[in-house]
Each structure stands twice: as structure tokens, then as C-alpha cells.
Amino acid sequence: MTQFVPETAEQLKDAVAWAVAEEYSVAVKGAGTKAGFGRPMRTEHEIDLSKLGGITLYEPEELVLRAGAGTPMAEITAALDEKNQQLAFEPPDLGFLLKGESAAGTIGGVIATNLSGPRRIKSGAARDHFLGFEGVSGRGEVFKSGGRVMKNVTGYDLCKLMAGSWGTLAVMSQITVKVLPKAEKERTVLLYTDDPATAIRALTDALNSPYDVAGAAWLPKALAASTGIDLVSAEESGVAAIRLEGPGPSVEYRCARLREAAGALGKTEELHSHRGKSLWTQIRDVMPFAAAGDSRVVWKISVAPSDGPDVYRQLLSLKGAEAFMDWGGGLIWLAVDMASLGGADVVRGIVAKAGGHATLVRGESQLRADAGVFQPQAAGLAALTRKIKNGFDPHGVLNPGRMYDGV
């Protein structure tokens, strides 16, 4: 196996063009932090994008940043911190969950997997902040789409297609994203409750209020205790958390109003500054299932928020199951002992009935190969998916099989 480490977009093109001509399969790698996520592949060669890094444009007042796909997230975060800005979709660091240590990866990896954190419900997903790219298709051709401006409907929105395509359509070299100011202040309202239905009721009421909620999650008792945050574990019960962000006076007002409303459902508390930050970072990075020695299979499950409590209850009856909810009930993180194809079918069956989907995030490579990582698609969608893949990568050179068999 040869590992190519292109240092220029031209070299990247040459490497892909060669693989295409010889019909060699290649793995596309940023920092390799998500190697254990996605369907396992056997490829003949590898393209490593770590030398295609560096911020090439950052104009804070225009809310735009462009960087090489291989730019480490740490570098991007540091540049944004300096100007008090952020990627509002709150990209998670799944390193703790997948490899037991921080590994935030590269901007290319974050976009290619379309991963977003708790603020997703307010600010949108990675794909909503992705403005433009340049890359090399599986035909070995350099192409671009989008731009550097906020509002653009010129041609098909290929950025949306690239976000979440796991490197199966093209290798991106340059990525342009929208960046936003950080909030001046943050506060979190806590409602202590063991009942997931009560919790989701409280979160739904908050999300349906005019108070602009920027995070809405619920942890059951044991996982609340695992956060190590005194106020979160104080009542020895489950905890619903509602995050508010914005200018100081506004946050204080909204916090008071929502605390008053939640008070009708149980005992409440407020988190300020570092305690709140710690809680939301732990939720974002799925820390409750990242403890050393926890080798359970971890699923990321997306459902309609109002279906959250019911799906949660059904999933909890599975062996060794623990779960918590984010996105106001619309996202369930599940850890479960069942590391078998049958176990995966049970999880998928429960989720499919509710009309959502389940992603196998952590599991042995054999399980990911046997069960697949993404919810199987209906026949029509699956056929369309293959045709799209074929239009970008007709020989199946790029990350073959990373998403679905043959895709």
C-alpha cells in the first residue's frame, strides 16, 4: 500500500487521477480520527490530506473562513477564538468516544461526516454552514461549487451533497465555511426529573417559547452523576438541561422565565459559566459513554423529538442499555451490550417504526461490516444513491463501501 501525502491541490489531483487510471481504490484520510467510524474498507492505497492544511482566508466581519481540508480543528478553533467567533454548529470531538482521547480531527473530516453538536437545533448542522469547496472527483478532475458568500443559489448546491458524503464522491482540498460570533453570555436551566416524558415536555415547552433555546438535553440519573458537575448530580435524579445564549440582560431574563415555567414540573437550578460549558461539552462529545473500559456498542439515533421518550423506553429494555437525549428529544445516544447483527436489527427495528434512523457510531469492525453503519435505505433511495455515486466516482475509487455496500 502506498500512502500519498499531497502538499498541493495539483499533487492531490495527480494522485487521484493515477488511482482512477489504474482503478485502484483509495482511502481518503484527514487526521484519521474517525477511522473506527463508518463501514470498514479494504483499500489498495491511501491519500492523506494532513499536508493540505492551513487557513487561507479569514475575514471575521464577513463571517467567512476558508481552509485546506486537512487543517486541524484545533487550528481553526484557535483562530476563531482570537476573534471571539465560532462554528455555530458546535462540531463534536468524538475522539474520547472512539479512541479514548481528544481527537477533534480536521475541518474536512467534520464536513465530510456532517457532525453537529447540541446547538444543531438552533443554528443548523455542519451542512448549513458550508459555503463552498474545491476538490477532485472520482473521475480525477478538479472541480468547485458554492462560493464565499452567505447567499448563493448559482447551480446545484453540491456543498450539501459533499457534507455527509464521507469522502465517497470527491476529495475536498479547500473548504469555505460561515463563522458566527460567540454569544456574550451563557446560562443553563436545570430541571431535576427521572421521567423522560416529563423532561421532553419541559424541553418542548422551552423550545416552543420565544426564548431562543440553544441546547435542550436530558440525562438519566446515572449519567447525570457521571458528569462530575455538583449541581447536575446534586439531586440524585435525572436532569433536563436548557441552554440560553446571548447578550447578558437577555440571557438573564430568558433564564428567569424558563426557570419559572420549568418549576411547575419539578425542582430547578441554574448553571453559570464553567459548569454550564462543561455540561454541554460532555453532551456534545458523548462523554457519558467514553469512560475507560466501556466497550458497549454506541448508536446515534435521530427521531422526531416527540417520539424521543417512547423510543427511549423501548431501547432501554435492551441488554446493558443506557441512553440520553439531546436536540429536545430528537437525538438519542444509546450504549448497549448487544454486539451482534441481531442486536443491530432490534435497534434499527425500533427506530424505523418511529420513522427515524440509527447510526452505528462505535462498534467492532466486524459488526460495522456485518450490520452496516447507516440505516438501510428504501429501494428507490438506494438506487438513486448509487447513481449519484456513479456520477462522481464511476470506478468506485474513493472510499468504496464506507457508507453502504458499493458506495
Partner: protein
Amino acid sequence: MEMPKPDEAVLSRRHRIADDLRAIVPGEGVIVDEDERRPYESDGLTAYKTSPLVVVLPETVEQVSAVLRYCHENGIKVVPRGAGTSLSGGSLPLEDGVLLGLGKFNRILEVDYDNRCARVQPGVTNLAITKAVEGDGFYYAPDPSSQIACSIGGNVAENSGGVHCLKYGLTTNNLLGLEVVMIDGEVIRIGGKHLDSEGYDLLGIMTGSEGLLGVVTEVTVRLLRAPETVQALLIGFPTSEQAGDCVAKVIGAGIIPGGMEMMDKPAIHAAEDFVHAGYPLDVEALLIVELDGPAQEVDYLIGEVKEIAESCGAVSLRISENEQERLSFWAGRKAAFPAVGRISPDYYCMDGTIPRHQLPTVLRRMTELSTHYGLRVANVFHAGDGNLHPLILYDANVPGELEKAEEFGGDILKLCVEVGGVLTGEHGVGVEKRDLMPAMFNEVDLAQQMRLKCAFDPDGLLNPGKVFPVLHRCAELGRMHIHKGKLPFPDIPRF
């Protein structure tokens, strides 16, 4: 504007095709009479007119599916149409094409507050969604200025924007699910009430695809809770540079207003003459900055914006004291297009986006172009997100003036691309900007977009002649030209 050459064989079968379609859509849902087809011959881009082969107005998804299957099997082109308000000719008919009108799909199927979404049919107007939920304190965020008439299906096709995009996003950021009928009649469902469906983002690809990939028959939109208070500032500046500077400083201070609009002097005067909104007439640029949220937040931010505006040299500044006054600030802006229509027999509305800091350069060069072409231009500008709407004033009755206006418009859009912007921010490419696409994309870029089209519509029957300047057969696009054994690439580090 050259359109695909009409297929004589199809044209000669017009009545036969109408009969076949009547077997699918009975009654008055198939229109073949020449006079009755006339209302469909144009959309919001009225400079172009073509009478369609046949108009069909289905009422059920099954009918849409059967119509598309029939057209697919018989090699007949299809142009989908919502409310026909496209400003880029997205639903301009084809002489040899069936015009598929979705106007009868006008029901709101479900409002689900617990999941903050509504399922609606594509013919429902944008404003009707907000009207249906505003009594309960909710609204649908994207608000194109045609919202009273434009359909949500058309909004999906064009990825429509509005004045609140910077804070609340375009159509694509406010959708959860779609039901789509493919050209072969197959019905697929994308997304639902949950977020971020796995697999390729077909929701994202369908949005803004201008009717070239499939026909949308159901849309699930996100609903937002209306803010407690909304207030606006009306700020006049002696130069557009100072107004632009103010916009940059507001955003630089970490404030993302709900709306931030700019008008230049000709637009201010036209609007003021028309609606008497109380705009200052002695300024070169006028900003409307709207802030929304709890009263505490709005009060605080108004103070911040006021301070920034004053530091940027504002010469007039009003803060809306009540809802009536806020709406009066907007009245002139919202009436800017018809207002310009009063001072000129015709106007041509452009839609480029630029990096905001390029505004002074673009305005200066636009003035030069205006002199060069001998045509006046008025500008309204979604200043927060850099989306510029120059309105070129002309008289279609003067021979050659329409062509001159179009050439002027083309130069403006090329200028937008030259300074790092794009051809269209929210109106779409359609037929209008089709031939300008090479200013922004090279052949490889365009071929890759067309290959995506091939995955959905391999025979190119859906809305051909729009978006892409040159049509290629999918077989030709699929070919690869490969030179084997060319490995050395000695420069690439490898391990």
C-alpha cells in the same frame, strides 16, 4: 435566448398527448386550447414568453406520478410550475413540453407544534404557512418579497431567501422533509420530522435544483416561535461607504440582526415618492436594521447599533416606537420594486451576491456602467448577507433598450463574480442567467453538476434549457478519458 429546438414530432401530437393526459387527469385539469394556455406562457420574468404544448393540473400524487411516467415513456419534456413567480424564468414553458402546474396542491396537511414543523402541499403560498400558525405564535422564517403569491414548492425549487436570511437562513436551512416524484413516476420520501437524515443529502440537493431533478409533492417545513418584540432603526448616511462600514461594524460587534437592508439614493427617492414612508431624502444611503427577541435584548442591541451608526457618521437615525412605525420603515423597502416601476416604463431586477466589503467598488463601477449604457440604476441591498438587487431602468418600447438592459445586467453579474461573489443569491439561474454560468464555473464544474442531473433524469426531460448553457447527453458526460501508466508523479510525498 436560445431554447432547445422543439421536437416537431411531439408538436404534431399535441391533441393526442392531451387526450392521453385526460385519461390520467380527468375533467378540466388538462388545457390544450390556445387561448386557455396563454396565462401560462410566462412567469415573473415577463420578458420571455412561450406557449406550452399542453398544461396539466393534477390534484393527487398518483396523477403526478402517472403524468411523469407517461412523459418519460413517450420522451416528452416537462416543465414544473408552482405559482409562476420566478424572476429567472424557472417555469418558462417549452413549446414541445408539458407544463405541470402544482397549483391544486394547496392544502396544509398537518401542523405539529411539538415537533415545530408543518407538512404542506407544494402549491400552498409561503405566506399562508405563517398565516396558519401565527395565531399560535409561530411563523415560517424565509420571507421572499413575493411571499403573498409564491408557492412553497417554488421556494424549494429556487431555495428562496428574503430579508431575514442572515439570521434565519434560506429555504434550505428551514426544511425537514420532502416527497418527490421522479421523472419515471417513482415516489420517494426524503427526511421527515427528524433532523439530518443519513446518506447523501438529497434534501439539500433538491432545494434550489430549479425543477430539473424531480417534482416536489409535499414539503415538511420547520416552524419557529415568533420573537416577543421586534424593533427597527432607520439610519441615513452621507455615503454608501459609511453605510457599508456600519454594517461591517455591527456584525463585527457580534450582532446578527434579524434584517439589515440598504437602499441607495435613487431607490430611496423612488420609494419615498411612492409610499411616503418618511425616508430622509438628503442621504446617499439608508439602512434599515431590525432586531428581534425579548424586549431586554432588543433594547440593549438597539443601543449598541445606535452607537455604532453614530460612530460611522450617520446623519439621521430613527428608532421605531411602535409596530406601526416599524412597518412604515419597511413600507418603502418592500415597495421598492413597484416604486421603481413608477419612475420608469420597465425595470430589470438583478440578483448578485458580493463579499460585503466590495460594496463601494461595485457601486462605483455600476455607476460607470450606468453612464456607459445610458441607463439609470437603483439599488436595494440585503446588506447583512451581501445580496445586491440592482434595478436597471429601461423602456421596452425603445428599440434595443431591453437588449441594452440585459447586457448591462450581465456586466453587473460578471462584476459580482469578479470581486469574489456569485451570479445569483436567491432568484435562481433559470433561463435568465443560464448563459452567464461560464463566468463562474468552468466546463468541468458544469459537467459535474450535469452528471448529478443524469442520476435523477438521464433523458434530460425535466425542465431542459434552464440553468445549463450547453446540454450534453448523459452517455457523453459519463465517458472517461484516461491515460494509463502515467504514474511517476515524482513530486507527491509517499510512504
